[in-house]
């Protein structure tokens, strides 16, 4: 079987009263990459989940190479060679990449001949333009490596229609290029068709042939990428002409007093080896300091240590007092954070949206008097935050699982940025956000800075970083290896330091 042509016809899907898909049709031509664009919550993930049999649409047909198919479960999709790389990781962390790949096969033999399987795997991975370590446990891979492994798994399973749901949000631009470039070459060669969900226009432009824009569950624009300008796509996404990007408020020079000071910080990674090594840094009031670096160089561990989620050695002081992440300290010193993968790291899926919005202040008035919770006040607060940050959700009592990826992020933004923030730790805060929400997030971070907060921004997107920060710190192998004011920053020099090279 070569690259299939897949057509979705009149797909309609409801979640309760919420119409997530409204009569959407989509044609994925054989051997092409079809991009899906749309605001957070537009229905992109829902559409492709219907295509892999994970959701059952109320209405609609799916045709593969002109033949009608009913997809009742992911198994049916598997039989048709349709596979998906999800917004979140699905590999088993405690198994090696090779084990994950072999075990993921639909028909597993009773006896697994590991030797021959490994040989076959090496054959497959040898052809790849990027390296994926086979005999390493998934838990020890960086986010980028995991994502590559997810894609290799789909190819190994012989998928002919590959669906990528925001695959590059955890990849560096170079990694994204490797991965998407490879998918592109496979489609060009007629071996694969693909669906690419992305919030990044330049990716769509570079790797996709066709594009469909969804808005509030309806398909509002579709056509060849070459025929549509970025402005036209953006306009279709939000339904009105795009105003010029908001200008950030002018920078005022940072104040001299240091808010965050880290001295000789050592943190171990999940594998027990040092991930952050004797790191020291300081962030001043009214300053955004950015940490640049390739993912997996200790940024994650650094953030977790600051958030009190990981054991550490060394001192962290905030506004002169030592900081250990207790509730009292957090409230008194105003330390808040936007971790990456917010659904996992900042939300509790078992609790409702309203309750998640209250995690920071549930034990203070007006949400709590004495020890008694005031759930009325909690709902009022949630309503206010949801309106203020335009969180789209089925309802305040919805569980966090029912929110689209971008709206989870918005909810966390709403909760963290409406506190009295004096130190903000933001780790890739715009992953998975549409461009409107991205701008809004930048604006709010800058606002926090201008309000006198110190901001430590960790990002793997160098352009994003340079556009926002006052000072850049480059992190490599657990250390700060370079420091420069944003105004004098040279991307090439920073890139070299990121890659672990000494400056020429």
């Amino acid at each position: 079987m070569t690259a299939p042509q897949v057509e979705l016809l009149n797909m309609t899907k409801r979640f309760g009263a919420n119409l997530a898909l409204n009569n959407v049709s989509l044609l994925i031509r054989s051997g092409t990459v079809h991009a899906l664009l749309g605001e957070n919550g537009a229905g992109k993930s829902t559409l492709v989940k219907c295509l892999v049999g994970f959701y059952h649409p109320e209405n609609g047909h799916i045709q593969v190479n002109g033949r009608e198919h009913r997809l009742n479960s992911p198994k049916d999709a598997d039989a048709l060679g349709i596979g998906m790389v999800y917004q979140h990781f699905t590999l088993v962390p405690s198994m090696t990449v090779a084990q994950n790949l072999v075990v993921s096969g639909a028909r597993l033999p009773a006896y697994i001949n590991w030797q021959s399987e490994l040989k076959r795997l090496t054959e497959v991975t040898k052809k790849l333009p990027f390296h994926v370590p086979l005999d390493v446990r998934v838990s020890q891979l960086s986010a980028g490596e995991k994502q590559k492994a997810e894609i290799v798994k789909q190819l190994y399973l012989g998928r002919k229609l590959l669906i990528l749901d925001e695959p590059t949000s955890v990849l560096t631009p170079a990694e994204a290029d490797e991965v998407l470039g490879y998918v592109r070459s496979l489609t060009r060669a007629g071996e694969l068709s693909a669906v690419l969900i992305s919030h990044k226009f330049h990716e769509v432009r570079r790797y996709a042939d066709d594009v469909t824009v969804l808005r509030r569950g309806a398909s509002v624009r579709t056509g060849a990428v070459a025929d549509l300008s970025d402005d036209a796509l953006a306009e279709a996404m939000i339904g009105e002409p795009v105003s010029k990007m908001v200008q950030h408020a002018p920078k005022s020079p940072p104040k001299p007093n240091i808010v965050l000071s880290i001295k000789d910080l050592c943190v171990n990674g999940d594998n027990g080896l040092p991930a952050v090594k004797d790191l020291s840094l300081a962030v001043r009031e009214g300053e955004i300091a950015g940490i640049a670096g390739v993912s997996g160089n200790g940024q994650l561990e650094l953030v977790e240590a600051m958030m009190g989620q990981r054991d550490r050695n060394g001192t962290i002081t905030v506004s002169g007092s030592s900081f250990n992440g207790t509730r009292k300290e957090i409230a008194r010193l105003g330390v808040y954070g936007l971790p990456q993968e917010p659904l996992k790291n900042a939300c509790i899926d078992r609790m409702s949206l309203a309750e998640n919005l209250a995690l920071r202040n549930f034990d203070r008035a007006p949400l709590c008097r004495g020890i008694a919770m005031n759930y009325g006040a909690l709902a009022v607060q949630a309503e206010r935050l949801v309106a203020q940050f335009r969180v789209k959700a089925p309802g305040l009592t919805a569980s966090m699982n029912a929110l689209s990826g971008g709206n989870v992020q918005r909810a966390v933004l709403a909760r963290e940025l409406t506190q009295d923030v004096r130190l903000l730790i933001a780790s890739n805060p715009t992953f998975g956000l549409d461009f409107v929400a991205c701008e809004e997030t930048y604006r709010r971070i800058v606002e926090a800075r201008n309000g006198g907060a110190a901001v430590l921004l960790i990002s793997e997107d160098l352009d994003e970083l340079l556009g926002l920060v006052d000072r850049v710190l480059v992190m490599s192998a657990g250390r700060i290896v370079h420091e420069v004011l944003a105004d004098c920053a040279d991307k090439r020099v920073i890139g070299k330091y990121m890659a672990g090279m000494k400056a020429a």
């Binding site: 309760g16 994970f54 959701y55 059952h56 958030m307 009190g308 989620q309 992440g325 207790t326 509730r327 009292k328 300290e329 957090i330 409230a331 954070g337 971790p339 996992k344 790291n345 900042a346 939300c347 509790i348 899926d349 078992r350 609790m351 409702s352 309203a354 309750e355 209250a358 995690l359 920071r360 549930f362 034990d363 709590c368 020890i371 008694a372 919770m373 759930y375 305040l396 009592t397 919805a398 569980s399």
Partner: protein, 358 residues
Amino acid sequence: MSSISGIESPPSNPPGTAAQLSVALPVLAVLLASAVFAAFVALYGQNPFTVFGLIVQGGFGSSFAWQDTLSRAAPLILVGLAVAIPAQAGLVIIGGEGALVLGGLAGAVVTLPFAGAHALPMQVIMLVAGALAGGLWFGLASLLRQYRGVNETISSLLLSYIGIAIFHHLTEGLLRDPASLDKPSTHPIDPSYMLPVLPGVGVHAGLAVSLALAIIAHVVLRYTRWGFALRVVGGSARVARMVGLAVNRWVIGATFVAGGMAGVAGAIEVAAVQGTANSSLIVGYGYSGILVAFLARHQPLAIVAVALLIGGMQASASLLQRRLELPDATMLVFQGLIFVCVLVADAIAQQLRENTRR
């Protein structure tokens, strides 16, 4: 243990299917178990309808039956809470029996040096001693979990056996009343210290204590910031740490309180029924408590209702034995069937939830 069924955020329960499901499932489970049990007694040549009639009669058919049922429900409520409270924090602790017997032992010996004092303070001391002993025992399991990564379900079960062994060791050795010949027991407590019988109900005051504790647990878990914090800790330790909750303290605190509940159950059994600590305490209340909590989906008020049901079933066992010559263990079979059905229903519910999402 990744998920504990039935823990839902109370005031924000989605009104629709989820809430209905959480009531319907246990009911279905009991019905299914009843059907299997009916087949089981039919194999013994008994008419299932007669059997169920006798269960109702033996558990709830007369004021005498009610008294028996209620006095069994008292400890069952407490051991149910002992499972349900840690469940809020994401722990599955099943070692209630050990905490119960150690609580009973502590309650039995703590007042021995003080003969002839006022009854009320002594009764309070007995219950507090029981709570401390039980709390410490459960606390061990959560200490091991938080600081050593030991699975709390297994450690609590094994600790339970150790607790029972210690109980035997002391009641048959150091603390044994030489006068207790055929059944090694501790010295009996001063009869004036025994918990009084509730006027008009004919059941000991331990029932009132159990009910009060269930109501307090309900209010605390549902309407206070402690309950909220506990659900945050149980929902995700990572996120709890991010928002500054001291996860270890919350987990250990919750298990301490839970163990305290089981310990109080033991102390009540001593102070209201036995008057001394001996092997009559070890009748499996701790294990029935697991069933009670799971069937009640870890909701304190539901635990009261389920404890009545299970208490009634246990109370009817002797009637079944007398009338139909069914062995004593018949009721255990029924209980076990219910438990299996609850677990199966939970698994099915999981599946259903995934399907309704689609």
